[in-house]
């Protein structure tokens, strides 16, 4: 564990009834690192993401996170379980982001695009309406949405635009860690490509650490520095993305890699 570790995951597990959805997962994540979690549906990858993002409670293991140092608290890893619920909520609204697979789950469909982007800032309080609106415009343009759509409802947007709106909504507080659940899988191929390019440059420019759950190995190759391969709730292979994809060792990873159709 290095000094600059952002997230430290040890022996994490979650049980649904008698079945372990994921178990014995351990890794460290550092600032600016992008980790892809791949595997087929039912492998436990989304459960893992929800555990790490505090959307589900752990049955085993621990997750430590190093909050941004400020006047009142020093830096360093803190056991997330030891933080108050209020502190956890604040973390997930400021230092973290969560991009859902379906934009409808991550957006408020009944309020305007601008209000969606500004919501996190409003929850933190204190911002002037004009400034909130200016920030919302700025973030809309950064995710390549026309600023004059600021008053439109998200339901008027295409799927790709909704996903970009969801990303803007998450990045507006300058998070350090973003969780993404299949961020491109609901989109047409050409829209996917554009979103991936956008994600890649945002992650690069902002130095974000990300955990991206995907079943698409091409997404992993494009975005991630490192990979975890999951099967039946366990991590079967881990390592540098191009090493795992070009020289897979576990039988399941070999099967996954050899099953991809080349265009």
């Amino acid at each position: 564990m290095n000094d600059d570790t952002l997230l430290s995951v040890r022996g994490v597990g979650k049980r649904f009834g008698a079945r372990w959805a994921c178990r014995d997962v351990s890794f460290d994540l550092h600032p600016g690192e992008v980790l892809a979690v791949v595997g087929e549906s039912g492998s436990g990858k989304t459960t893992l993401l929800n555990l790490l993002a505090l959307r589900l409670a752990l049955d085993e293991g621990s997750v430590h996170y190093s909050p941004r140092p400020d006047g009142s608290s020093p830096g360093g890893l803190r056991d997330l379980a030891s933080l108050s619920e209020a502190r956890q909520r604040l973390l997930s609204r400021t230092e973290w982001g969560f991009v859902d697979q379906h934009p409808r789950d991550g957006l408020r469909m009944a309020v305007s695009a601008g209000a969606n982007v500004a919501e996190r800032l409003m929850l933190l309080g204190g911002e002037h309406y004009g400034r909130l609106r200016a920030t919302a415009r700025d973030w809309m343009s950064r995710v390549e949405l026309a600023e004059d759509r600021i008053d439109d409802l998200p339901s008027r947007f295409s799927g790709g635009m909704q996903q970009r709106l969801q990303i803007a909504r998450n990045l507006v507080t300058g998070p350090r860690l973003v969780f993404m659940d299949e961020p491109t899988s609901g989109l047409d191929v050409s829209v996917q490509a554009r979103l991936l390019d956008l994600l890649r440059s945002l992650v690069d420019d902002l130095g974000l650490a990300c955990i991206v759950v995907t079943h698409d190995l091409a997404v992993a190759r494009l975005l991630a520095h490192r990979m975890l391969v999951m099967k039946d709730g366990a991590v079967v292979e881990a390592g540098l993305t191009d090493r795992v994809l070009d020289d897979p060792h576990h039988p399941y990873t070999q099967l996954l890699v050899s099953s991809v159709l080349m265009p």
Binding site: H30, E33, A193, D197, R200, L222, H225, R226, G239, L240, T241, D242, R243, D246, D247, H249, H250, P251, Q254, L255, S258
Partner: protein, 248 residues
């Protein structure tokens, strides 16, 4: 063009000990494909070592082990990384990424990049990752692309639709732009015409003369003779060699 890195000419920059690579195909009844074993190699600053041996003897696999792209089955692959040695066979992903940023460059046989990024950005990227300002990185990228005679009208396009020779020059530019101490070159001139081949040969020679340790695969004898300081035969490390071969 690339000031900065300079090494004393005798310093060892690459150290390979007992390296073995065997592929195990679990979904083909666990069949084992041994590529090489017991391979020892050292390369010093200012050397350009050409890998030799028949096709299939593991030249490209060795290069990939040297880049951390393949995991060795046995042995160690150490690179001089700053003041230290980094063993790629045991390094963490982030250490390998850092080594690729600062210490080892790789020109693969085929350009493999993100499909939609303009050429100039692709070529400048290794410098930007070293912390160079965009304007400076772009300036050096322009100079190198000009030197490689890649038409300027192509610089702002992604290379996906370029000809083989044009793509290869983008690949060479991307691999050589940063003054990294170790360079791995897998057939960097294979699809170039004579004029462009000579330009790349000159660039490789300059990198060697500034003290890079170069390991390469060059099938073209003329290129090989122009850049190599010695050759390294993979034949003796073939796992299927006979006892007589091993003894001789």
């Amino acid at each position: 063009m690339n000031p900065g890195f300079c090494q004393s000419p005798t310093q060892t920059l690459v150290r390979v000990r007992g390296l073995g690579k065997t592929f195990v195909l679990h979904n083909r009844d666990g069949v084992e494909l041994p590529v090489f074993s017991g391979l020892d190699m050292e390369v010093a600053a200012g050397e350009c070592v050409v890998l030799s041996g028949p096709s299939g003897c593991g030249k490209s696999s060795l290069m990939r082990c040297l880049y951390g792209n393949y995991a060795p089955s046995a042995g160690t692959v150490e690179l001089r990384h700053g003041a230290d040695w980094l063993d790629l066979s045991a390094a963490s992903p982030r250490e390998v990424i850092d080594a690729r940023r600062r210490s080892v460059g790789y020109v693969s046989q085929f350009l493999r990049v993100i499909p939609r990024i303009p050429t100039l950005d692709l070529v400048a990227e290794p410098l930007r990752r070293l912390g160079l300002a965009r304007t400076l990185a772009d300036q050096q990228a322009r100079e190198l692309l000009e030197r490689l005679a890649l038409p300027e009208r192509l610089w702002h396009l992604p290379p996906a639709t370029f000809s083989g020779g044009e793509q290869q020059r983008v690949n060479v530019a991307r691999g050589l732009i940063a003054p990294r101490p170790v360079l791995l070159l897998d057939e960097p001139t294979a699809s170039l015409d004579a004029g462009n081949r000579q330009i790349v040969v000159d660039l490789i020679g300059r990198a060697r003369d500034r003290g890079a340790a170069i390991i390469g695969i060059f099938h073209d004898a003329e290129v090989r003779d122009a850049v190599a300081t010695r050759s390294f035969d993979l034949g003796p490390y073939r796992p299927d060699r006979t006892l007589e071969e091993a003894a001789s």
